[in-house]
């Protein structure tokens, strides 16, 4: 596997999943939700799809899909905690 392409796929997947989190109304990373959220969702979906396509060029189909899903699931699991942590810091008096 090409490590550069692998890294690029990972970055695309992480940023894509993060943009998808920012598109959700419950996100807390940004103080005010970015409007329209649809742009974030489409950008996130496009980057996530790019990550999948890159992985498919390097790996077997099942391994590529499983790697991609694992990455999206982990970012999606961590995102609310990071968002809540940032919101907590914002609320704290300076």
């Amino acid at each position: 596997m090409n490590p550069w392409l692998y890294t690029l796929a990972a970055l695309a997947g992480i940023v894509g999943a993060w943009l998808l989190y920012l598109a959700v109304p419950q996100q807390q990373w940004l103080a005010a939700p970015r409007r329209p959220a649809r742009g974030l969702a489409w950008s996130g979906a496009a980057l996530a799809l790019l990550a999948l396509l890159l992985l498919l060029t390097m790996m077997g189909a099942m391994a590529a899909v499983a790697t991609w899903l694992s990455l999206l699931m982990l970012v999606g699991t961590l995102a609310p905690f990071l968002g809540a942590w940032r919101a907590h810091r914002r609320r704290r008096p300076a």
């Binding site: 419950q26 499983a66 899903l69 699931m73 982990l74 809540a84």
Partner: protein, 541 residues
């Protein structure tokens, strides 16, 4: 999505009770399973250094083999030529001698000493990584496999039921609660959000784990039923056509040539070793290695037949080249083991596994919080016995597992010089700490025990890299392997502040959190303000 309230209530009850029954065992399975993602590096870190001289080059493997066969002719029955010797396979030529049962064997390795004489050593793979894997496979139960495995299967079925019921409960509030994390005074809401955040997005991971565990636990029974119902004449296993017998003057190809041919036939397949055995007066061979572009049925390698006389590889057992049925079976294994994509995917699985362990932990916290007897005007009520018991059990079992694994890992580099039965000692240390932690949680109560056990976990985890440091300085017979071993030490070192921070938050919650909670400091040791919350909390307000 609208679902009737009475339906939701039924699923909620189911979710709660299957969660309570299986949650703590699943915590152990996930925590140990997360560590097992790096079983091979852990095994290498834990294996004492070999006393053999450095392996001769691969081109001299046949010379070494002839020297071994001259002194140990029994080695011809089953031996390996290792392409890249490692700490846990430190010799160029390794052979196996059978033990009492089919799965038992003793491994020997050979090398040439500086004076050219043959050196032979009984190989000592460290058993501690296997212990962690067994804890994972048998959900921490100290029973024989025949008893523990069906229990594990039942737990996996409960896990599947919990996933389905949990999803149904979540569906009506999906749009409102997805990825929400509301941190505030409503502790129940907080634990609910944490539980959902850990479980909803990673649902496909959990579904895969639950289904594969059921298959692993009951695969003998599945085959029995399949044999009785579908294949009354027996399962028509695909028989491999053995290569024709070699001509009388045929000689096996040298390992260097086998490796060259393997690379030509299977580019991307990283060869670990060639194994050979005598069968029916003929030499049979197989090739073992890994291609991270595909998932494998075994956790860390794939293996297939090889003609030792021509170097031709039979690819039908290699991932990516299997038939559709074998691919389907292979998929089950690879999705459970995370045996694809190399170390990045192993890290992803490790983190998802730890998140899974927290999912079960938070499920119990949510149950306790839901049953909290709230403070009224006449004072702080005593919490229910069931909440106190579950609190102690949750803390004792979860942190007992963490403490036990850290302790047995910390002992790894001190035991081989002092005791013979390493496996029994590692198991004894784990279960002694585990049982002691559960007992401690009941004696001290959940809040105090949680703080104390977390600090103990930090201390014992710190001892893991310290034992490697002792090895660097040659203290007490400990050792240190440069390279991959550092990852284990650094990971353990990174976990220490995490345990301490959680201990700090837990202690703070005990002092300043809700007084009307099983997590509050016992009333006898802390005067409480009338607000029902701890003094610091009252000050903050």
């Amino acid at each position: 999505m609208k679902i009737r309230n009475d339906v939701i209530k039924v699923y909620k009850d189911v979710h709660i009770w299957v969660g309570i029954l299986s949650g703590l065992m699943l915590f152990i399975a996930f925590y140990a399973g997360a560590i097992t993602m790096f079983e091979k590096p852990l095994e290498r870190w834990a294996t004492p250094p070999s006393s053999l001289a450095a392996p001769p080059p691969l081109a001299r493997a046949e010379v070494l083999l002839q020297a071994v066969l001259a002194e140990h002719p029994q080695a011809a029955k089953n031996y390996l030529i290792v392409v890249e010797p490692t700490v846990d396979a430190p010799a160029r030529v390794i052979w196996r001698e059978p033990g009492k049962s089919r799965r038992q064997f003793t491994e020997f390795g050979a090398s040439f000493a500086d004076d050219g004489s043959l050196q032979v050593e009984k190989l000592r793979k460290a058993p501690v990584a296997q212990l962690v894997d067994t804890l994972h496979q048998l959900v921490g139960l100290p029973f024989p496999d025949a008893l523990a495995r069906p229990i594990m299967g039942a737990v996996a079925l409960l896990y599947a039921v919990a996933l389905v019921s949990g999803l149904i409960i979540f569906l009506p509030t999906l749009a409102k609660d997805l990825l929400a994390m509301r941190i505030g005074h409503n502790i129940k809401r907080l634990w609910m959000d944490v539980h959902n955040a850990l479980g909803v997005v990673s649902l496909p991971f959990h579904v895969v784990m639950a289904l594969t565990c059921v298959v692993f636990a009951f695969h003998d029974e599945f085959y029995d039923v399949q044999g009785a119902v579908v294949y009354e004449q027996g399962v028509p296993w695909q028989r491999e056509t053995p290569p024709g017998p070699p001509t009388p003057d045929a000689r096996p190809l040298p390992a260097v040539e086998l490796l060259r041919l393997a690379h030509a036939q299977q580019p991307g397949f990283d060869v670990f070793n060639f194994s050979f055995k005598q069968a029916g007066g003929q030499l049979e061979a197989s090739i073992t290695g890994l291609d991270t572009r595909y998932g494998t049925r075994a956790r860390t390698y794939a293996s297939t037949h090889l003609n030792p006389y021509t170097g031709e590889i039979d690819p039908h057992d290699l991932p990516g080249q299997m038939d559709p049925w074998d691919t389907a079976v292979n998929t089950f294994f690879m999705l459970h083991f995370g045996s694809f994509g190399g170390n990045p995917v192993r890290w992803l699985y490790l983190l998802l596994g730890l998140a899974g362990a927290l999912l079960f932990y938070t499920g119990n916290l949510l149950w306790i919080e839901s049953r909290r007897r709230k403070q009224r005007a006449d004072g702080v009520p005593e919490q229910t016995r069931s909440a106190r018991v579950l609190g102690s059990l949750t803390v004792g079992v979860s942190l007992g597992c963490v403490v036990g694994i850290s302790a047995t890992l910390a002992a790894t580099k001190w035991l081989p010089q002092r005791v013979d039965n390493l496996a029994a000692w590692h198991e004894g240390i784990y279960y002694a700490l585990f049982v002691a932690a559960v007992a401690w949680a009941f004696v001290r109560g959940a809040p105090r025990a949680a703080v104390e056990l977390l600090r103990l976990a930090a201390l014992l985890t710190l001892l893991i890299p310290l034992s490697s440091l002792a090895g660097v300085w040659g203290i007490g017979g400990a050792w240190h392997h440069p390279g991959i071993g550092c990852v284990i030490d650094l990971t353990a070192l990174a976990a220490v502040p995490v345990f301490l921070v959680i201990a700090g938050y837990t202690a703070r919650r005990m002092r300043v959190g809700h007084a009307d909670s099983v997590w509050a400091q016992p009333a006898s040791s802390q005067p409480l303000p009338p607000s029902g919350r701890g003094p610091a909390s009252a000050l903050q307000e």
